[in-house]
Assembly symmetry: C2
DNA sequence: ATGAAAGCGCTAACAT
DNA sequence: ATGTTAGCGCTTTCAT
């Protein structure tokens, strides 16, 4: 079918070398070549033979054909990586961790944007049933989580869930969300804030309660009260962040600072603040969980808590490889390296206190 | 190797159905099943038989094993997509076009960030020599372009170059760069600017002269002069954009507006302007080629010219598929849809003219 | 210490 | 109108 793979004639593109070519060049049988190149421990060959085979393979630039090998081994050394938006800067670092771990194990990551699964709902099932992947790394998004995850469970694909813990089966890698939120909260406390709000995620998302509890414990251990009206649980999207701002800014006595549980909500929250001419950080300080490149470009640049994204990706692959080699699936929390505060411009000391709401420029009620 | 694929015992995960299972269920031979499911035109079967086979395949949720099929067909229906940074928002839309075209042809795109190739230089060669991809879509970056492209040429992999034209061999899909730059330039002229500069790319990059010529012809057809000192050819990175600002802002009589030949340079240029307290757009208007999500987040939001990224990706796959089926490689210019001006905040009418340099706040020299 | 050969799942040429 | 079979390139068991 493919036009370039003709039998070698004079001038035409050469056929790719295969086992038998190496075997002929080294004057051994193909089985010896296979064993040498795969480092078969049961191999009992003369050093000289091994060297001859290796030299022949190198000079021919031999690489085992993936289809032949896969057919025989019943595995393809490819893992599918399903991400909400592979183009988001947020995932750049996680993907780098995934790639690094894959490189070490001679695995190929095949990235599938979750959005594609919506349009082409059997895409994942196809990949699995056609045997194009040995296993899956999945970061579920709410909308498609249920049906996709059910398909995955039904197909018995070795799977590790990223960032959130699976309700379906063991096998996940998550951040220490509470620790990250605590770092953010303590930074605001250290700056002198006492009136601190929390913009959280939707309670049904399994990360949300962990993040909220990080906020609560950091506040409590500094003896600071938590005011219900300063805590929103609207979701993780920019729109949710905007809504959270609306809810918090309308209050008679608003907080002087907020911890925001995720990056996208922080973008929306800050945008809404700017549109309402609320000065960040002078009127309102913001620290958000999860750093990302766009945090730098936003005005004001966002102070964030950077979580170990690289390591999460790395460990996810590591654990998936364990599962593929027969070990039981586990739920892993990535605690190292610890969350790191990235100070930029969105958090500062509170203004000298005034009991008027500086956030509400329109003085109604 | 993979732990989940055991022979079906009681309770254990079921073996994936294969041709012979469908054949047994439909009481026909495996060749009939293969021909029915592949829509073989030479098939001369009874309608009833066809229906029986299709029903059996559907009820078993049969999917042909990729390894078996690939081994036989000598093609894998996977194309490698090498992008400078797959995580950049810039490529999101191009990738969507690639995916859309792949979905239509039952191809799988396998995205490889070019950065990985630096660390793991034989990665691409490996993919090709192992037969894991049938062809390649490559956007070369300067640093690795030469060695990688040479490897590709040597391996005779069907390849289509993205965005820039290949000096190595035919097979490319590029934008109508001149048209895009002309749209940007004409917008500034329509706003009343006469003193317009151009921040271009490095001359060795093949897109650079096309973009410069678009600027020149738009200026000339409005009877506007081009001043050499307002034209920079430093490169496409944010740092290059910063350098371009430095060069332009230092002049006695600077332009009131600039066209910037690419998105990243515009980000750097605008950042440098902000740091120099130059008001954009009041002191200096900016229009850049290539829209991207971050153009909205930057302050001021950038006025840009959106190029047909989706279509470029789509056509690249289309053409690669043509090459794979034996047609000769061509160099394609994507002219539809035309470049579209996205008006945001970085371009406005020029200030009433003053012959002092408003860009140079420090009055030295 | 090395080789022969079976067989992974599929397509297609060749029977019938 | 349908079935039989060779063979794609590889790994691995079994033989020597």
């Amino acid at each position: 079918m493919s036009g370039y793979r003709k039998v070698s004639g004079s001038g035409g593109p050469a056929r790719r070398p295969q086992l038998k070519d190496v075997a002929r060049a080294a004057s051994v049988s193909i089985s010896v070549v296979s064993r040498v190149l795969n480092g078969d421990p049961s191999l009992r060959a003369r050093r000289e033979t091994i060297e001859r085979v290796e030299a022949a393979a190198a000079s021919l630039q031999y690489r085992a054909n993936a289809a032949g090998r896969s057919l025989r081994k019943q595995s393809v050394d490819v893992i599918g990586v399903v991400l909400p938006d592979a183009n988001s800067l947020f995932y750049a670092e996680m993907l780098r961790g995934i790639e690094a771990a894959c490189d070490e194990r001679e695995l190929m990551p095949m990235v599938i944007r979750a959005e594609r699964i919506g349009a082409n709902s059997n895409l994942l099932t196809r990949l699995v049933r056609e045997g194009r992947v040995d296993g899956l790394l999945v970061q579920p998004i709410d909308r498609i989580a249920a049906e996709v995850m059910e398909g995955i469970v039904r197909d018995h694909v070795p799977t590790v869930i990223l960032v959130s813990k699976s309700q379906w089966q063991p096998g996940s890698v998550v951040f220490d969300d509470a620790a990250g939120i605590a770092v953010a909260t303590r930074h605001l406390i250290a700056l002198g804030h006492r009136d601190i709000g929390f913009v959280g995620g939707f309670p049904s998302h399994d990360t949300a309660p962990r993040r909220l509890s990080g906020f609560e414990s950091a506040m409590e251990s500094s003896g600071l009260p938590i005011r219900k009206e300063w805590v929103t649980e609207l979701g993780y999207s920019p729109e949710d962040g905007r809504a959270a701002f609306a809810q918090i800014a309308e209050q008679e006595h608003p907080p002087t600072a907020v911890v925001i549980a995720t990056h996208n909500a922080a973008i929306g929250f800050a945008q809404a603040a700017r549109q309402a001419s609320v000065d960040v950080p002078d009127d309102l300080s913001i620290v958000s969980l999860h750093d990302s490149l766009s945090a730098e470009y936003v005005t004001p640049a966002l102070t964030t808590v950077k979580m170990p994204l690289f390591e999460l990706g790395y460990q996810a692959v590591t654990h998936l490889a364990e599962i593929l080699s027969g070990e039981p699936a586990r739920d892993i929390v990535v605690t190292e390296p610890r969350p790191i505060l990235i100070e930029r411009e969105s958090a500062g000391p509170p203004r000298t206190q005034s009991h008027l709401n500086p956030l509400r420029k329109t003085g109604n009620k």
